[in-house]
Symmetry: C2
Subunit: 309 residues, 2 copies
Amino acid sequence: MNQPKQLSGVFAPVITPFDADLRPDAARLIRHCRWLLSQNCQLAVFGTNSEANSLSTDEKIELLDALVEAEIDPARMMPGTGACALTDSVRLTAHAVKRGCAGALMLPPFYYKAVSDDGLFRSFAEVIERVGDARLRIYLYHIPPIAQVPISHDLIERLIAAYPDTVVGIKDSSGDWANTEGMLKRFPGFTVFAGSESFLLRTMRGGGAGCISATANINPAAIHKVFAEWQSPGAEDLQAGLDTLRGIMQAFPMIPALKETLAQFAGDPDWRRLRPPLDELTEDQRRALTAALSAQNFAMPGLPVLQEA
Amino acid sequence: MNQPKQLSGVFAPVITPFDADLRPDAARLIRHCRWLLSQNCQLAVFGTNSEANSLSTDEKIELLDALVEAEIDPARMMPGTGACALTDSVRLTAHAVKRGCAGALMLPPFYYKAVSDDGLFRSFAEVIERVGDARLRIYLYHIPPIAQVPISHDLIERLIAAYPDTVVGIKDSSGDWANTEGMLKRFPGFTVFAGSESFLLRTMRGGGAGCISATANINPAAIHKVFAEWQSPGAEDLQAGLDTLRGIMQAFPMIPALKETLAQFAGDPDWRRLRPPLDELTEDQRRALTAALSAQNFAMPGLPVLQEA
């Protein structure tokens, strides 16, 4: 077998559009994915910011099929495939491999809390063994603020030792740079993605692979520029630009703010819809977000516009 | 329509047996349910202690069908039907109603944290509207230590006001007596179940309906006795007996300890299996549990025994 190709670059956890009945809207998703790809941004569909955990496994499989059938390149896709139920994780991961996805971003099972590393090891191991496909590449998904089930460095070490060709990387959404840095030092050759572009320059300097970040949904080209030019003299200034936009978005609930931004810039109010338990921005929040983006002359170049605002 | 019949009594979140391939084992589950019913214990299948969130929706639907087809009375069942994904909650809840289940115990969607009461209201409301069946009776499931998404009293008030014939009760697994007491006082006529038998006597004295408790899987008759005789002079002593057994079980991880107990007393080692991320007890823990139960002369009267130990 050839050495597995490692993924790198900038990925968006692609936000998921819904129709009036709150069904996933494949056509809008395909349109958004095409734009992201055109901006050098790859596709971590079914991430936290995709509201993936508000979708059933069937819905995710149907969306993935629709994307691949629309000729969105699966080699640029890293779908989230980890679920609470072992059988859901196995089914979706196997499907992602079968459709040719370059990687699977895998949450630990997240309902039961304070579980052991042994239990988490068995969770990942059962998925790997049951999928049973040498093409599988797992990127672990460490997001303790939301999943409330962390992935420890000792667990990572055990997984790499047991499945060196399969467990190839991680997305670190801890928000804790010391954790990212610790992994970069402890696991040479392991593919580490920052969970936000705030840490992109530091991650690249530390030997990381890029970032998988919410705001890549709306600011992909600028984030990719930091990835591509991190060794250039202007890299700090480019990073500062990212930080400014991040600061604006973080003043609002992230997922509705991303959807609001896309709704406004694409002239497509249907993008505002969220599945419960998430809420749309309030009118006041909308106005504040619009004003803040406008003050920065924020733009989404090349974005297909449905109707002028 | 007749006034809906309120559920009351003692329910077990029925532990789920798995075969060697970690598939749910319907035959063993049916056997355990029959024993529980024989002990005056009703069936909250698919609860936290059932490892329900380690099962896919398809697996839960198949198990529920197997139970009903085995003539386990659905009027004595309150399956857990709340999931992260709206579509999973709707599908399983609709199926439970269709099969005649007396109630549905409903977790809030639990992946996204710090969500608003508006968002949670919409979650429950969407399930109710989409199921669209006047027979539906929802018991909310408040378990902040695990779900990390609490159900506030203000949210309960809104749900009762909007759906008075549907949102009829709650299981309080907060472990916080003040919360249970607050609901009993604020919502007369609302069916409040304690989330553990530790609070059973207090809950009955406060006007509650009973309890839904892990240890009812192994100690159902004694727990039911407190429910049935809470007004008797000996009630405090009966409650003290429950507390002793609870104390023993709480010294171990609860779900594996319940399974270990059943494995030992039913002479059926297959009961020990858990789906990851949960682990079986260690050998030391097994020995300590056996010794502690033996010191109390713990017994499971009437339990069918597969093979003598």
